[in-house]
Symmetry: C14
Subunit: 78 residues, 14 copies
Amino acid sequence: MDLTSAIIALAVALVMGIATIGPALGQGTAAAKALEGMSRQPEMSGELRTTLIIAMAFMEALTIYGLLIAFLLLGKMG
Amino acid sequence: MDLTSAIIALAVALVMGIATIGPALGQGTAAAKALEGMSRQPEMSGELRTTLIIAMAFMEALTIYGLLIAFLLLGKMG
Amino acid sequence: MDLTSAIIALAVALVMGIATIGPALGQGTAAAKALEGMSRQPEMSGELRTTLIIAMAFMEALTIYGLLIAFLLLGKMG
Amino acid sequence: MDLTSAIIALAVALVMGIATIGPALGQGTAAAKALEGMSRQPEMSGELRTTLIIAMAFMEALTIYGLLIAFLLLGKMG
Amino acid sequence: MDLTSAIIALAVALVMGIATIGPALGQGTAAAKALEGMSRQPEMSGELRTTLIIAMAFMEALTIYGLLIAFLLLGKMG
Amino acid sequence: MDLTSAIIALAVALVMGIATIGPALGQGTAAAKALEGMSRQPEMSGELRTTLIIAMAFMEALTIYGLLIAFLLLGKMG
Amino acid sequence: MDLTSAIIALAVALVMGIATIGPALGQGTAAAKALEGMSRQPEMSGELRTTLIIAMAFMEALTIYGLLIAFLLLGKMG
Amino acid sequence: MDLTSAIIALAVALVMGIATIGPALGQGTAAAKALEGMSRQPEMSGELRTTLIIAMAFMEALTIYGLLIAFLLLGKMG
Amino acid sequence: MDLTSAIIALAVALVMGIATIGPALGQGTAAAKALEGMSRQPEMSGELRTTLIIAMAFMEALTIYGLLIAFLLLGKMG
Amino acid sequence: MDLTSAIIALAVALVMGIATIGPALGQGTAAAKALEGMSRQPEMSGELRTTLIIAMAFMEALTIYGLLIAFLLLGKMG
Amino acid sequence: MDLTSAIIALAVALVMGIATIGPALGQGTAAAKALEGMSRQPEMSGELRTTLIIAMAFMEALTIYGLLIAFLLLGKMG
Amino acid sequence: MDLTSAIIALAVALVMGIATIGPALGQGTAAAKALEGMSRQPEMSGELRTTLIIAMAFMEALTIYGLLIAFLLLGKMG
Amino acid sequence: MDLTSAIIALAVALVMGIATIGPALGQGTAAAKALEGMSRQPEMSGELRTTLIIAMAFMEALTIYGLLIAFLLLGKMG
Amino acid sequence: MDLTSAIIALAVALVMGIATIGPALGQGTAAAKALEGMSRQPEMSGELRTTLIIAMAFMEALTIYGLLIAFLLLGKMG
């Protein structure tokens, strides 16, 4: 293994690491409000959980883009 | 693979990583308020979910721009 | 590819990455308040959504300027 | 292309990237309050939207100054 | 062991370390609201705990992606 | 072009970029409160907008100083 | 001992150190709300404590992943 | 032009850039409260605007000191 | 003593130092809420103190992991 | 001009730039509360403005110390 | 004394310095709430002070771990 | 002038610049509350202003210590 | 004096400087709440002041540990 | 003067500068609450001012430790 691979490894780590911060915080904020809403309006539980999962999927997608880039870079490490 | 490719790999990682932070936090904030609104005004659920998805698409677009640049740079790594 | 191209790649990544943070957070804040307003005043939904989209377009424009600069720099990488 | 051009490219990226953060956050804060105000005082919608657009133009101008400097620097990259 | 392995070790540490920050904070925020909701609406305990675990699984997944990348990079250290 | 010009280009970028952050955030805060005030006291709209524009001009001036320095430095790049 | 081992030691320290920040803050937030809930609804104490321990286990797991990576890297220091 | 001039250019950029952040944020905070006060006590408008302008002048002065130093340093670039 | 030992010493300091930040802040938050709860519901004192100590033990454990790694690294300094 | 002068120029920029941040933020906070107080107790306007100016003078003095040091350092640049 | 000792000295300083930040902030938060509780429920003073001292001892322990590591490293400076 | 003097100039700038941040923010916070108190309890104006000036003197002293060190270091620049 | 002593001096400065931040902020928070409590429950003044001094002593101890390490390192500068 | 003295000068500046931040912020927070308390309970003014001065002395002491270390290091500059 050469130095180039090592730097690409750093790039892989960087993209995967950073790409988890935002979505996780965003999902936490959304989930918190969904849970708060459920305890206030129990009869809305189903509706809220559906919307929460849609919103979380949007945010999970952002990390998946990062994961995709990480795999493409890993493939270039050879 | 040469050193130039390694630096471009870092650039790819940088743009993809950073481009997920803002949109994820923004989507989280918007989703949180939409979920809060739904539990307060159950009859507005449909309207709120539509507006939330429009807003999330705007923000998702920002990450997509980053993904686009990441792919263009990956293509230059050869 | 030479070292100059690699540094320009870093510049491209920098401008595109950073240019998504502010607008995304700003759009999230605006969307959150629009959704909150809708759940309080359902009859204002149309008006609020229109104003939200105008405001989001202003902020989206800021990222587009960054994208424009990123493309101009990519063109110089040759 | 020489190293000087590469450093100027970094400068272009720096000025354009940073110049989007503040205005975007400022526009987001202003838009949020305008939307909140509209849902409280529906009959003020026109007035609020006009003032919001004036305020956003002031902030958009700050990014335009950054864009102007970015173009002037790009012209010097040759 | 060579220097390349050492840099990959840094990459492994970076991705694993950073990938725990966001999800942990997000899970903490969600759990806090679930616990608050339970004490307000005791009869919703089951529903809230189920939703909390779904949300936590989404966020745990983000760290698992980081762990996956960390193992793939460890395998490249040889 | 020589290395000196490149460093001056970085200086130009630095001053223009940083000089937009504070004023934009300040203008956003002021505009937000003016818009909030308008929706509370509609009959004060004119007065508030005048004062807002005076305050924004003060803050815009700070960025203009930065722009002035940026042009003076650009002139020295030759 | 060689320089490679020293850099791996830094990596071990990095992953273990950073991996404690997020979970600890998350656990603190969750525990705070559980304790607040207990003092409001004394009869929910058992339920809240069970849910708190489930949530804390999820977050403790994130640090354990970091600890696992730290041990694997320590094993490579030889 | 020599390297010394380039470093002085960086110094000029640094002082002018940083010197706009604090005053702009401070002026924004003050202006926000003045505008809020005006909408609560319309008959105090004149008094509030006078005091706001005095306070803004104090803060504008801080940036002017930075501008003064920037000009003195520019003069030394020759 | 050689340079390798010095770098390992830095690693030991890094892991021990950082590993105290999160748990301490988390324990502070939890203890604050337990104390607040006690003053509101004096009859829950025993229950709250028990739960607080369980929660603090979870967080103390995170620092102990850091201490463990610090001792293992100290042993490698020789 | 020599390199020493260039470094002193950086020092001058550093001290003047940083010395404006704190006082400006402090003056903004104080002015904001004075303006809020005036709109609540119009008959206290004179008293509040006097105290505000005393407080602002204390904070302005801190920046003046920085300006003094900046001039003394400028004098040493020769 | 050699360079290795100097780097270990930096390590000692790092661990001791950082290890005071978290516990101090945590103790401050806990003490603040205990004092607030005492002024609300004077008859709980004894109970609150006992719990506060237990909590502070937990946090003080975190700094003591740092102090322990600092002494072990000092011993290695020779 | 030699390089040593230049580094001492940086030290002078560092100590004077940083030493203004904390006291200015602290004075701003204290002054803000004094002004708020005056508008609530006009008859306490004298008492509050006296206490504010005592508190500000304590904080001003901290910057004076920094100024003292700055002058002692300036004297060593020779 | 040699370079080693200079680096140890940096270590001394680092430990002493950082070790004052946390305890000072913690003491400020605790003192603020004690003073607030006194003005609400004048008859608890003695009790609150005693508890405040105990809490401040705990926090002062953290800085004293830093001071101790600083003196031990100063002794090694010779 | 030699380079060693210059680095010690940096250390002196570092310790004195950083040691003013925390205490100043802490004193500001404490003073703010004392002033607020005085305006609420005028008859407690004496008691509050005494406690404020005790608390400020504790925090002032932290900066004095930094000043002491700064003088000891200045003495070593020779």
